[in-house]
Symmetry: C2
Subunit: 143 residues, 2 copies
Amino acid sequence: MDAVNKMEVLKSYIETKGLKSTAQRDFIADTFFKTNTHISLDELLKKVKRKTPGIGYATVYRTMKLLTESGLAIARQFGDGQTRYENLPEDGHHDHIICIKCSKIAEFHNQKIEQLQMEAAKKLGFTVVNHKLELYGYCPDCV
Amino acid sequence: MDAVNKMEVLKSYIETKGLKSTAQRDFIADTFFKTNTHISLDELLKKVKRKTPGIGYATVYRTMKLLTESGLAIARQFGDGQTRYENLPEDGHHDHIICIKCSKIAEFHNQKIEQLQMEAAKKLGFTVVNHKLELYGYCPDCV
DNA sequence: ATAATAATGATTTTCATTTTCAATTGCAAG
DNA sequence: CTTGCAATTGAAAATGAAAATCATTATTAT
Ligand SMILES: [Mn+2]
Ligand SMILES: [Mn+2]
Ligand SMILES: [Zn+2]
Ligand SMILES: [Zn+2]
């Protein structure tokens, strides 16, 4: 799904929730849709302010909250005390591996792991709704 | 390792770090060593205050930090905004599955998953130091 | 006993959110 | 095009968990 389609999904989400469309929200969402990193609120605010200095932190915060609940953004916690947001991945769910030295983030997906998780949960009588798998270590550049 | 042995490990950690032994710290550590839950600072403080009302939050905070860096406690973040501590498990590392309705926590360990994690990391050139795997869903009691 | 140094506990500070609120804006109805 | 009203905005304040501060107290080696 590209930025244009995402914007359409957002529009219809806003519609069904009885919300109103605003230029600030559209611009923040569009800016976010064009990122391909795991971006923090501060980073996104800085990016947004470059073209639209008037926009406030709270509006960025609220927009990302909206995008998250509409399923267009994913909120991630990598343990540095800051929530980071990423776009809905093109190729489905993925997990992360984070360098504890330079903070580089790589992504991976392993269907076998997902399968084993489900089995482990089932063995305990649990039904899995979602999961978090993060590996921490050193990236190739940091040995 | 039982509470007595843990206390000995703590003593020698304190020794090598040139720290001093205190009644408060001993009591907090002992209280923690006897828990078998994933306890928050507030919960531990409350438990400690029952027998020793004079002890302050900061001392509990500092003691758990000490236990964590000495390897006698493990700090966990289950996404509710509160750090929880658990005792070093008898049977090695384990992961968690958390009920999103009643917050019940179950533990599991799957060597195959751990193995696949290492392989996934290796494929990306990373070396894994530690990892976090949490499953979220419904426990048997919550359907 | 003394001196040096670590620990304590109350309090304050930090910092990332989250909420509040008055002013502004979007939009549907007339 | 107005009007009415609910939603939105941005600045500021509030929140809450974690971390730091600091005067006082306790521990330990000498
Ligand atoms: Mn990602
Ligand atoms: Mn556990
Ligand atoms: Zn690195
Ligand atoms: Zn449950």
